[in-house]
Amino acid sequence: MNAVYRQGPLTFDCEVAEKIIHDGWEVVLSFEDESDGPWLVDLCHLQRWDYQHTDLDSQKPFGLDVPAEPGQVLLQDQKLITRMNRTQAAIWKLTRGDAIKTPEAVNFTDLTDAHCMLAVLGQEAARVMEHVSNLDLLRPGKQAPFLTQGPVMHIPCQIVTADVDCVLMTFSRGYGQSFADAMLHAASGCKLRPGGEDLFGRWLSGVGDA
């Protein structure tokens, strides 16, 4: 019998420099010739949950504070929690670490496999996004991180502007491969290229609250 493995929704067609197996996932840590960016990083293996509660303000999923208003995002304990609406929040675990078991509470639904999660990293991150979406991801008056829900290349996405150098996106998993291919093509003028997970780790380690 073959060993259990887990397969993400997309692969990048370029040479891998370093990879590891984590919880059944093959995670690319770095690619050959990553250059100076900007980079598109596949983070599908990171755990994500949906959390819904009628009285969401009173809740502390995983001990995290829930943002007070829809569109707000909090980065706590290397987890990112976004508030989508009055009753619903999404929780993204931003580091591999040990896998967290989904709590028994009815309000949690594990959505790790439901979505494709990508990061656009690098100094040109915001400019890259302007090639693929007319959403204003750097709108004045909004303090990063913040959530935008809207289309990127016509695909409904949840987009977190983490800072000017990092934009995180989740969208339906099935779109993963064709979305990533289209994004790399559309932003080829900005020299967008695949990047390994290490790049995201370096960005995260530079964020104070994480």
């Binding site: 019998m1 493995y5 619903q88 291919d181 559309a186």
Partner: protein, 681 residues
């Protein structure tokens, strides 16, 4: 050249638009441009201004100081030169005087009009105002307020204040008391410059005589065409628009639409104040060439098993947002795939199936509302098949529901409906204060359908769970562990009419489970099958596909699925129930029937019509070659009176101008294994 173009060339690109320049303009922006170019050192010979009054006096003084000849009430009447402008004739508007200038550039503008496109698309009505020279709103839709250049204002302070007023008016319409602020803003506006006078139709002495007096620059619509239009009875702007194509380009109502209204007024000799412009339609902002030149990315959904399917030779087709395998060989009848499911075991990638979780204290009430069946009967460990109808009783979705915990349910929908299922629930419970939560798990889990008489033996090889008919009977639900620890939800169903197990597995583990089944299934002659084989198999069993065997003229009852409807439930306010009640005994409704074609020179096709003499009495929804009957069979929607079992009906196939008829015999739709013994084996 237009005023902005000349200005931009000089100011933005530092390119002289011409060496000797003549202006023919109709507003103060033209005067400003002439002065600016002159101050940059360009030789501006003269400015013809179509207006006789309302000019900015300061600008006129500056023109005089700059030594630029200014002709009020004049316009360009002709231009000489072919590849380059050689000279311009300027005339007064009645044609009594003409002056010629040798130049290499004519800068022209027809003046300004209010930007009324957005208001027009919102439903406002407009009429020409002789006092302001603008098309002004005479009737606004309720709670719509306009400001800025929509109203003909051009002064920045006036535009700002008009915005404040419009905002306050909107607040007042929402019952906010803003009367003091509104009064103050109106007082402030009264002290500011009002509307800039619009430009009348510049109609010089030559206009109408030549061929190139343009009303619409987008579509090359000329004054002459407008005269022809009127002479042939197309004498109002909306008709002339269709005759000559005026305003069909991106300019729409602006220059072309307003020019046309004024031109038609002049041609017909009717008062200009009665003229109305043409209707504006979206998009207000034209598509850019850059957009058209951009790449068209093929963004689609792939199932978690896409790579496996491709490796097995799957031929993909678009299925809604998904890309799915239609065939596994070039044999488009898929007979080997079908035969293998009937005799051995087949694997189908059904991952596009909609999958949802609904939970919360009122989850059951929500299910009762949207499904036609009594959902209280949904039990743990069992699958309940049911359908959703719309308000008119048409079936819009079907799937299975199972209870996975207290107030916690898992249900499936058709692939096409998955994207709108949450909105459907929310919409139909919007007046209820119900506490339930929905999560879309469609992409979260892949689905592998193991179907065929050897399906149990195959699945048993990869799990230790008891899969016997007693432990996991037809329509049962069980959570299994397959292979080396992968959790799977197992639904024992039978869409293709055979013993079937549908495994729902986390998307990232799907490929592993498929490989496991593939390896284990070699001794049972396992083969993959695609959507086309599934379509043939389910049609033999008489299982409908929504939208293929149903449409807006037929209800749940008409297609033989009335057994799902909890008719006695009047408490849940089920969607579609009133319509179903109203038509359940109605005569003359279309019905779904099965049919077979024993012998025919014509190969029946989907969409063939059912005829009675010259009358069309139905159509073929699906027809294929039956592996079990060894003839053509299918399902058709026919009028009442053509549904008797054993009756012969005539069908007709149109091939260009040829019409070939053939005979079919009505049979029950579910003729394959009518007692469903194969599903329960």
């Amino acid at each position: 050249m237009q005023v902005n173009t000349a200005w931009r060339l000089a100011r933005t690109h530092a390119i002289a638009p011409g060496k000797r320049i003549v202006f023919s303009i109709g507003d103060d922006l033209g005067l400003e441009a002439a002065l600016d170019l002159a101050e940059l050192g360009l030789n501006v010979l003269a400015v013809a201004d179509a207006r006789s009054n309302n000019q900015n006096a300061d600008l006129l003084t500056r023109l005089q100081s700059a030594g630029i000849e200014y002709l009020s009430g004049w316009a360009a009447s002709s231009v000489t030169g072919s590849k380059q402008v050689r000279g311009v004739d300027l005339s007064d508007l009645i044609g009594s005087q003409t002056r010629s200038f040798k130049c290499d550039l004519l800068v022209a503008s027809a003046g300004q009009q209010a930007v009324i496109g957005p208001l027009s698309t919102a439903g406002a009505q407009f009429q020409y105002c002789t006092e302001t020279g603008l098309f002004e709103a005479t009737e606004m839709p309720p709670n719509l307020f306009s400001a800025g250049r929509m109203t003909g204002l051009t002064h920045p302070g006036s535009i700002d204040t008009s915005g404040t007023i419009a905002g306050l008016e909107a607040a007042a319409a929402c019952d906010r008391d803003v009367s003091t602020s509104l009064e103050a803003a109106r007082k402030a506006a009264a002290k500011l410059p009002g509307k800039t006078k619009g430009c009348d139709l510049v109609c010089g002495p030559g206009i109408g005589a030549g061929r190139k007096a343009f009303i619409c620059f987008d579509e090359d619509g000329t004054f002459k065409t407008a005269v022809q239009s009127a002479s042939q009875g197309f004498d109002v702007p909306e008709l002339a628009k269709r005759f000559g194509g005026f305003g069909l380009g991106p300019g729409q109502y602006q220059v072309p639409g307003q020019n046309l209204a004024m031109a038609m007024s002049k041609i017909n000799g009717t008062p200009i104040e009665n003229s109305q412009g043409t209707t504006v339609r979206p998009p207000l902002v034209p598509l850019t060439l850059a957009t058209c030149a951009g790449p068209r990315h093929d963004i689609h959904k792939q199932t978690p098993l896409h790579r496996n399917q491709k490796a097995l030779g799957g031929i993909f087709r678009n299925a809604g947002v998904w890309r799915r395998v239609r065939y596994f060989s070039q044999d488009l009848d898929c007979r080997p795939e079908i035969r293998n499911v009937r005799e051995n075991v087949g694997l189908l990638d059904g991952s596009s199936l909609g999958k949802f979780r609904i939970y919360g204290p009122d989850a059951l009430r929500a299910l009762q509302r949207v499904y036609v069946s009594n959902m209280e009967k949904t039990r743990q460990g069992r699958c309940k098949y049911s359908a959703m109808c719309n308000d008119t009783g048409n079936i819009v979705d079907d799937g299975v529901i199972t209870r996975t915990g207290d107030d916690d349910y898992y249900f499936t929908t058709t692939s096409n409906r998955a994207g709108i299922t949450i909105e459907w629930f929310r919409y139909h419970t919007r007046y209820e204060d119900w506490d339930f939560k929905l999560v879309n798990l469609t992409d979260s889990m892949g689905s592998i359908n193991i179907a065929g008489p050897k399906a149990r033996k195959l699945l048993q090889k990869v799990t230790k769970e008891d899969l016997s008919n007693e432990a996991l009977p037809y329509m049962a639900y069980k959570e299994l562990v397959v292979g080396d620890g992968v959790k799977a939800r197992c639904l024992r169903l039978g869409f293709v009419g055979e013993l079937s197990f549908e495994l729902h597995v986390a998307a990232s583990s799907c490929q592993y489970v498929w490989e496991l089944l593939w390896e284990a299934g070699q001794e049972f002659d396992v083969q993959p099958f695609g959507m086309e084989a599934q379509n043939c198999l389910r049609a033999e069993k008489g299982h409908v596909i929504i939208g293929t065997e149903s449409e807006q003229r037929v209800t749940l009852l008409d297609i033989g699925m009335g057994f799902l409807w909890a008719r006695d439930d009047v408490v849940s306010n089920k969607i579609g129930a009133p319509a179903l009640r109203a038509c359940e005994n109605q005569q003359g409704r279309m019905k779904l029937v099965g049919f077979k074609v024993a012998e025919s020179a014509v190969t029946p096709q989907d969409g063939d019509i059912v005829v009675d003499g010259k009358n069309i009495v139905g159509y073929v929804c699906t027809t294929r070659i039956s592996e079990s009957l060894d003839c053509n069979y299918g399902m058709a929607l026919v009028n009442d009176g053509y549904t008797t079992k054993g009756e012969e009906i005539r069908m007709c196939q149109a091939l260009g101008k040829r019409h070939d008829e053939y005979t079919a015999t009505v049979i029950p739709p579910h003729f394959y294994d009518p007692d469903s013994e194969r599903l329960r084996m």
